[in-house]
Symmetry: C2
Subunit: 172 residues, 2 copies
């Protein structure tokens, strides 16, 4: 299950990259810079589009890192342009591509996964199963969907099929 | 994995119900009817809040039904008030609670799952693994997150911890 979900995160990140490319084309036809979306928010105290992309990437990256037991590269949160944000997705995918199904065999449902320390308290620990299904999966899709919604709010012509991407159907 | 994910969908639906209760309280303090949220949309050609709730429920319901091999009750899409929409979540949870871990043992990664027929073409078929991880999970969180975003957009004071709910940490 662990490798399967990380592979699915990779597919979703690729879909998100394609959606961002469509946003760039839309912005071009309307005569503005797609980077204007980077600071868009659903509500003033929510995180902006750029942060939604970064957190989606980090959630996928850390899921792979923690469950495969491989150290993840650090990425500075300094992207602002669409090209830079898409580059962040690319760097995340490059790391995840290095993980093989075998790397995930070390993880059982009960394997402890420690969350990062916070300034005011040490990170808490979850069983791998709860970490993946209860925290990382909902968190990942939260940020991908919010990024999608921000582009929809900004007029980009995309739909659910862009979000889901191409599914592997049985037979023609 | 199948039962685990359906249990997680149930937790997310309960979180969503709590979020809707907070929206009702917020609307009350501001002196308007929470049902005004039912028609809210992120963009004019997106589905409204009420539809996001119904589809989130149906996605969870059909995932349980298809993977446990139990027929799901039909629910008319006629809810408009917040009380009715929360009732829809309740009915969905009541059905999912009838499914036991044993019911899901029939499903292997390769078990075929047929999607509903469309007016213009018969439903396509997916392997259970792809159905769950590639379609149902992203779809479910898409609609739950969009419902959350619509309430955030409408000023309700909720945060990520309301969306994730209570996680089962190891030790105190």
């Amino acid at each position: 299950m662990y490798h399967l979900v990380v592979k699915q995160f990779m597919r979703s990140l690729k879909n998100l990259d394609t959606i961002m490319e469509k946003a760039q084309k839309y912005a071009e036809t309307r005569g503005f810079d797609a980077t204007n979306y980077s600071t868009a928010r659903i509500f003033p105290d929510m995180l902006p589009f750029a942060a939604q992309i970064r957190i989606a990437c980090d959630t996928a990256k850390m899921t792979g890192s923690n469950l495969a037991g491989k150290e993840a590269p650090k990425h500075e949160d300094n992207e602002t342009t669409f090209a830079e944000l898409r580059g962040r997705i690319g760097k995340c995918l490059s790391f995840l591509e290095t993980l093989s199904p075998k790397d995930f065999e070390r993880t059982t449902p009960a394997t402890p996964v420690k969350l990062p320390d916070r300034p005011n308290r040490p990170g808490k620990t979850l069983r791998a199963e709860e970490y993946l299904v209860g925290r990382q999966i909902p968190n990942f899709y939260f940020h991908v969907t919010t990024a999608y919604n921000l582009l929809r709010q900004g007029g980009v012509e995309i739909g659910k099929s862009d979000y889901l991407g191409t599914l592997e159907f049985i037979e023609g």
